[in-house]
Subunit: 191 residues, 2 copies
């Protein structure tokens, strides 16, 4: 997650980012994404407080790396310019095109939309982080989502102090980056 620098995202810029997301391909053209822009400060705080609880629980599950984990910047809900909650729509089950054997392809499509938004943000000089430390049902209730809908991302967007030269989790020595050639092979599983 970036260190946000304060300042707003211009409305025209935000509109371009949302348009980039909405132009993503989707399985069976079902457009499963639903986006809630958080402008209400009480809602923003409620999301923050829930994520902070879940951040602590994740740390507990980390065992000996708990303290190290807690020093990482993994959310910026209160300090970023814009918070978007992205969710899977509630009317998904009628779509079987490309989802009969793999119903989770709706998440794949929403992720394509979020990656479009991410790249568009970077092109505009705007930093973004995807927070996934939350219980979907809790966030669903906070945004008033109907039954069957499923939040998958809290996106933190805004001007940043600087972009990391390397992925933050590599820079902070949380993990190392594997090269592509370890993850790619011809006609068989990469070893």
């Amino acid at each position: 997650m970036r260190h946000f620098a304060g300042g707003a995202v211009d409305e025209d810029v935000l509109a371009r980012l949302l348009s980039a997301a909405h132009q993503a391909p989707s399985v069976g053209l079902m457009q499963p994404w639903r986006i809630v822009r958080v402008t209400d400060l009480a809602l923003r705080h409620a999301l923050h407080d829930h994520v902070e609880v879940e951040r602590g629980r994740t740390a507990d599950a980390m065992g000996e790396r708990a303290d190290e984990f807690m020093r990482l910047k993994v959310q910026g809900i209160l300090d970023c310019a814009e918070v978007l909650v992205v969710a899977l729509g509630d009317d998904r089950e009628r779509h079987i095109f490309g989802r009969r054997t793999m119903p989770h392809m709706d998440l794949a499509s929403v992720s394509c939309a979020i990656q479009n938004l991410w790249l568009a943000a970077r092109a505009e000089g705007i930093g973004m982080g995807w927070v996934s430390m939350f219980v979907p049902e809790v966030v669903a209730e906070l945004i008033g989502a109907p039954e069957g809908a499923e939040p998958v991302a809290i996106l933190c967007l805004g001007p940043v102090e600087e972009f990391y030269p390397r992925p933050m989790l590599e820079q902070e020595k949380w993990t190392s980056v594997r090269p592509l050639d370890e993850l790619l092979a011809d006609n068989s599983w990469p070893r």
Copy 2:
């Protein structure tokens, strides 16, 4: 899915596309993507034959739209220049960063990688289609994936006759495209 025009994808171009995929962000920097490039003709045919069976089963599940569905071009495995199978790695369960409450965030990360590849392909004038009409276990066996790995995409890549001016499923009147403002709202669920 595009109508492929024949002809190869230059090796340098393919390397750029794969590099774009590999630069995607991932939850906890886990890089869950594994990529199998299909150069073996027997393997390509085996994937094709399985997808054709599943295409028929999807049509059966479509009821009164079965014939209409069967006329759509939903895979190009035999006529595209390059086939890539993309899968989730088998060593995922040790990664809990951002996945404790939402283990499916690994699929989200792989989808970001695929969307990067998709955009890079389009920028190079290469068409791509994401086939998801298969049984993951069957494709896993065909590519020799270990237990715990999970194929999520058969990607068809190659030069195309032309790019559709509108999404193919809209153009063929399979479905209509919803505007962004129906899927977006402030502080509450979009209605």
